[in-house]
Symmetry: C2
Subunit: 454 residues, 2 copies
């Protein structure tokens, strides 16, 4: 295994072997995953160098762990012993921004917010906005099929990816998709690669769809409710009415209490849940009025509508504080189940019941308009550094409950290493077999991110 041969084959990309430097490249934000020790880390700056790395890895049978910014929550970028880590985070060029065709061609390391900012200069936006949008890369967003707040209206990452440039395990370059909004020549390999968590190839570049930016600031509607059920009813009413909010978030009492304790947001006693919605587009005012009415009719104790950008930003900030507020209280396992939208009340109530029964603190926020629920398990590690059994037992029950309700283990974070053992429950035996066969079709030697996803 000559790293020298790899170093010689590279252009200007950096090959790191210093253990202290490598350490930062061995993990993502899934703190419960235990990383192995890589052979080396490649900080790639071109597709050609990724090609060289994969040819070398194939020749020497070295497993490869691709990564973007490392903001993933499921351990998809966790290094394994003896692997080559390939980071595309330094490939930050926006190659083309085409306003007429409302698309951009970007290298994998372009940060989500940077692309959205560049699009804004042309009156456009890059719609997918995971909470990590200020640091996460388009390549990482594609690997996990990242969601976000505004995907309730504009769809997930997959809905914004038109085509990909991918380096395959054997070093060949595969180009998928096109620059058109429609196209059915052959299998949808673009869609297959989005969300494949680095197990099929390494995305080096993407052609993504941009959308017209709403012409003005959205209207923001906030409502507080005396019961979770009332808040969930309000969500169902908004969805049923076809209003199409651009954001519809639920925050539970435990999360609100943690934020209030920290930032003093003036939480009223008796508030069990808060909803924050936004409406953009030409009918934003009409939509905001309708959402306000649905909140009131569902029994909100308090509803307010703001059309002031500064005030809207303050209201959204409450939502963004949910995770840091949880982190103040202990170790966090951020979960990510999804259920059909009508089952949201049952899911949230089940989470509360499971939390009580196992005496595990769980704080829940939800992309309620999508039925995507993030229960965060908050706990202290045991003396030996391990996770209390009750945490995984409670998480197991949450996963099974989501599946029983017709839902999914993961709405937007991915399976990574943390959720592999539940995969057969969701996709079934035939589904797992097909996953293995598809994986072998792309990567017959099993070198691409082994041990991740399924």
């Amino acid at each position: 295994m000559s790293l020298t041969a790899l170093a010689d084959a590279l252009g200007s990309s950096r090959l790191v072997t210093d253990p202290d430097v490598m350490d930062a490249y061995t993990r993502d934000e899934a703190h419960l995953a235990t990383p192995g020790r890589p052979l080396a880390v490649l900080i790639a700056d071109s597709a050609e160098d990724v090609v060289a790395a994969m040819k070398w890895a194939t020749a020497h049978r070295v497993p490869v762990v691709p990564r973007g910014a490392g903001s993933g929550l499921a351990g998809g970028a966790t290094a394994i012993d003896g692997c080559l880590v390939v980071s595309t985070a330094a490939m930050r060029t926006i190659v083309e921004l085409n306003a007429a065709d409302q698309l951009a061609v970007v290298q994998a390391g372009v940060v989500n917010a940077d692309l959205d900012g560049a699009a804004a200069e042309h009156g456009l936006m890059y719609a997918p906005d995971p909470s990590s949008y200020q640091i996460s890369t388009i390549g990482g967003n594609i690997a996990t099929n990242a969601g976000g707040l505004r995907c309730v209206k504009y769809g997930v990452t997959r809905d914004s990816v038109l085509g990909l440039e991918v380096v395959l395990a054997d070093g060949r370059i595969l180009r998928t998709g096109h620059r058109t909004v429609k196209g059915v020549a052959g299998y949808d390999l673009t869609g297959l690669l989005v969300g494949s968590e680095g197990t099929l190839g390494i995305v080096t570049s993407a052609t993504v769809r941009l959308r017209p930016r709403p012409p003005r600031e959205p209207a923001t509607i906030v409502g507080s409710f005396g019961s979770l059920r009332a808040a969930a009813d309000a969500v169902a009413a908004v969805v049923r009415a076809g209003i199409g909010p651009s954001l519809l978030e639920l925050i539970d009492r435990a999360t609100l209490a943690a934020i209030d304790e920290w930032k003093r947001i003036g939480l009223e006693p008796g508030t069990e849940a808060m909803l924050i919605a936004q409406a953009d587009g030409p009918d934003a005012d009409e939509a905001a009025t309708a959402i306000e009415r649905h909140f009131t009719e569902a029994g909100a104790d308090f509803v307010a509508v703001s059309r002031d950008p500064a005030e809207s930003a303050q209201l959204l900030e409450i939502r963004r504080l949910a995770y840091p507020a949880a982190e103040r209280l202990g170790q966090c396992l951020v979960e990510d189940v999804g259920v059909p939208r009508s089952r949201l009340p049952e899911m949230v109530e089940s989470i509360e019941e499971i939390s009580r029964r196992h005496a595990v603190t769980v704080m829940t926020v939800a992309h309620a308009g999508d039925g995507n629920v993030h229960p965060t398990f908050v706990f202290d590690r045991l003396a030996d550094g391990s996770v209390p059994d009750a945490v995984w037992t409670a998480a197991d029950e949450v996963f099974r409950r989501a599946l029983d309700l017709g839902g999914t283990l993961t709405g937007e974070h991915g399976v990574g290493v943390l959720k592999r053992r539940w995969m057969a429950l969701e996709v079934g035996e035939a589904g797992l077999d097909i996953h293995h066969a598809v994986k072998a079709a792309f990567d017959p030697l099993g070198l691409m991110n082994p041990g991740k996803g399924f």
Copy 2:
């Protein structure tokens, strides 16, 4: 090869071997494709019987050609010698229509319009509306990833499919996807199967997304233009402005002339193109006014806006007459290229130039808002029944031009048998290799619809 063994294994499905009856099941609407002679036709009425058929086919190495209503335009349902044709068109049950979760579970043979009609009773719609919507099945729409008029706003079939039940080549049942709007557990097998033209398995049931039905009739805007370029400029302006029409169709002079000759629509001399747009939703009036203004500013000779349902239907009828008007003039090859939206004028002008140079009549309509162009080649067969060389030569040039402009061979019809020989041009050698490997992952014996797609 004992058909008796198959017949014995079936429940109430019909097995047809009468050559006269079988004939209707050997072809679709791709009249240039030459069908072979099947061994038998299975008119399935349950997934269990499709399972039995695939187990039998695998045991006896019999190739299988799946089909829905047979309205395809690329020959994806063309029978081959010695095959078993499996029709799912008789599986017409809407298993569930869930208004709260805005989804339906349907058997593969449910007709598109029947599903949309059932959804309408709940204030919902099934958005994908291929021109064949009154006869084509959801299973067939899924196999081809069908588009349609309103997909400029609501997306193609793939964007409305949440999950599938598929019978694999070996007779196992694969269930993909979920009942949630988001989900990233494992590979997007649902998306991979949509548009796979029956080469990976047979769809027996689907969970599809329904959307809120716009609360009232759309506004319709029609404009006539003295040049194709002006019409294309109007399209670009509407797209750029982010208006989001629910329909935006272009009809060229040759098509208008054929319709006028037949139905006397009062075509003005000098009209080179017509645009028909619709706007729905709460801001329909505002959008219609904006579209009218963009048409005028781009140089329309005439613009009219109608909010009257009967008049709107009449205007749309002009668009629907395009294909029957062409069929009156001779044999038709309906093509289906897609280009980035800004390249629409170049594509349409290239088609006119190619038509003139090869002296082949071409009549063009386009889902202009998507850059999806349907040039219909109209010709007389030669004395021996064959297609004049000039037709395929001209079509070849149209395909290559679309690819040169960053486009695709097929926006919504599929590759079938008619476009296979151009596939390598679009997907490349690595892409073809991956197609074959993915195919083998699902269907190692190569029994599923051999000779189709790639």
